[in-house]
Amino acid sequence: MLDKIGIAKRIAKEVKDGYYVNLGIGIPTLVANYIPEGVNVTLQSENGMLGMGPFPFDGEEDADLINAGKQTITEVPGTAYFDSALSFGMIRAGKVDLTILGAMEVSENGDIANWKIPGKMVKGMGGAMDLVAAAQNIIVAMQHVNKAGESKLLPSCTLPLTGVKCVKKIVTELAVLEVVPGEGFVLLESAPGVTVEDIRKATAGKLVVKGDVPEMVID
């Protein structure tokens, strides 16, 4: 079973040299820390920046320089700033190669819910609906089950949707899964110490197991 850092490390392996990547809040943000040497990636922050650098050193924070999670950040050589309309323009135009974000629920056909719990939470969707509607390549980073112990991989989502048929891959503390419309959650890899049976129990939607399932390799 992986911790959050393990999930981030595994997802980092999906990032290819030259990619432009948008990272959501939470576990996805951690991914930036584990991108392999030699893999050059440009991070897009949807509030209007390409080339997002690490957090600033103490005392060097700049209120005019934040990411989409409202955290203080820094520039890198080659950074460009732009406005919100162009930011989502480049997302919509398919220029961002990979989007990594969290989810409350994902369904067998790739629907995702991550912005609202009716009657309980009304924070808003932020840029998530734009990202999932436009990105060609969406990886969800999340826990396999919620705090109540219920599976977050479902036959169909119960919460209000963020997007339909858009999630391609899911990485949880238990497994790496591909979402294949018409088939279900195809199990690609299991986490160290986790059995296929463990994963099956934690997956409410249809789990597809094809032959031997390799164990994740994480550095």
């Binding site: 922050s45 949807e46 509030n47 209007g48 920046m49 690490p54 957090f55 600033p56 050193f57 103490d58 005392g59 060097e60 924070e61 700049d62 209120a63 005019d64 320089l65 934040i66 990411n67 989409a68 999670g69 409202k70 955290q71 203080t72 950040i73 700033y81 732009f82 406005d83 919100s84 309309a85 930011s87 989502f88 323009g89 997302i91 919509r92 629907d111 009304v122 924070k123 808003g124 969707m125 932020g126 840029g127 998530a128 609906m129 734009d130 509607a133 436009a134 209000p160 949707l161 963020t162 997007g163 339909v164």
Partner: protein, 231 residues
């Protein structure tokens, strides 16, 4: 062509009740602090506010929520504000939640004189309810309308007496398109310079879009999430 007004009070003196206003900024980054303070002081009520966020309890648009000046928020994310949540759950406040890119693009549509555009965000979700859907190249899109705002209140880094604006780093966010989208655009700037002092190649918003400009004061520029690394 001189668009300079004395201060925020002067700039919003005719911002009366029940108007639709845009407010620039993302989170607390690049918000028109002086205009918000003046608006709280003036006390205009029944406002519809188009703003990506709703500030925090004691800063930004949060100040206008406390004084109950806001009838409706049109935003993409409002999750940092307890007073907001209270007014919303009690029914005192209307909220229209819109995908962030759609929000920005509906500002841009107004800026570019386009009444409506086709956007894909939210198809198949509850934000698509009641909207016209059309398929282009195999992908469903929603018909989204340009915003129609009486005022746009924006914050820029530098501006000149003709209303030309330059933003700094990630403060450009919604400020740029909103500055071009309002019927009356009020720009507050950290540094106001004579026309001719800004490099004409570097201007983000041409002055033709700005009706009033002033040099703001006492900027707090509060940081919402101070994150640092160890040296």
């Amino acid at each position: 062509m001189n668009k300079v007004v004395k201060n925020a009070d002067d700039a919003i003196k005719d911002l009366t009740d029940n108007l639709v206003i845009m407010l620039g900024g993302f989170g607390l980054c690049g918000i028109p602090e002086n205009c918000i303070t003046a608006l709280v002081k003036k006390g205009s009520k029944g406002l519809t506010c188009i703003s990506n966020n709703a500030g925090v309890d004691d800063f930004g648009i949060g100040l206008m929520l406390k004084t109950r000046q806001v009838k409706k928020m049109i935003s993409s994310y409002v999750g940092e504000n307890a007073e907001f949540e209270r007014q919303l759950l009690s029914g005192e406040l209307e909220v229209d939640l819109i995908p962030q890119g759609t929000l920005a693009t509906r500002c841009m549509a107004a800026a570019y004189g386009m009444p409506a555009v086709w956007l894909r965000a939210g198809v198949g979700t509850e934000v698509a309810i009641g909207k016209e859907v059309r398929n282009f190249n195999g992908v469903d899109h929603l018909l989204e309308y340009a915003f129609d705002a009486d005022f746009a209140l924006v914050k820029a880094w530098k501006g000149d007496t003709h209303g030309n604006l330059i933003f700094r780093k990630t403060t450009r966010n919604f400020n740029m398109q909103m500055a071009m989208a309002g019927k009356i655009t009020v720009a507050e700037v950290e540094e106001l310079v004579p026309a001719g002092d800004l490099d004409p190649d570097q201007i983000h918003v041409p002055g033709i879009y700005v009706q009033r400009i002033f040099q703001g004061s006492n900027y707090e520029k509060r940081i919402e999430q101070r994150t640092v690394r160890k040296s």
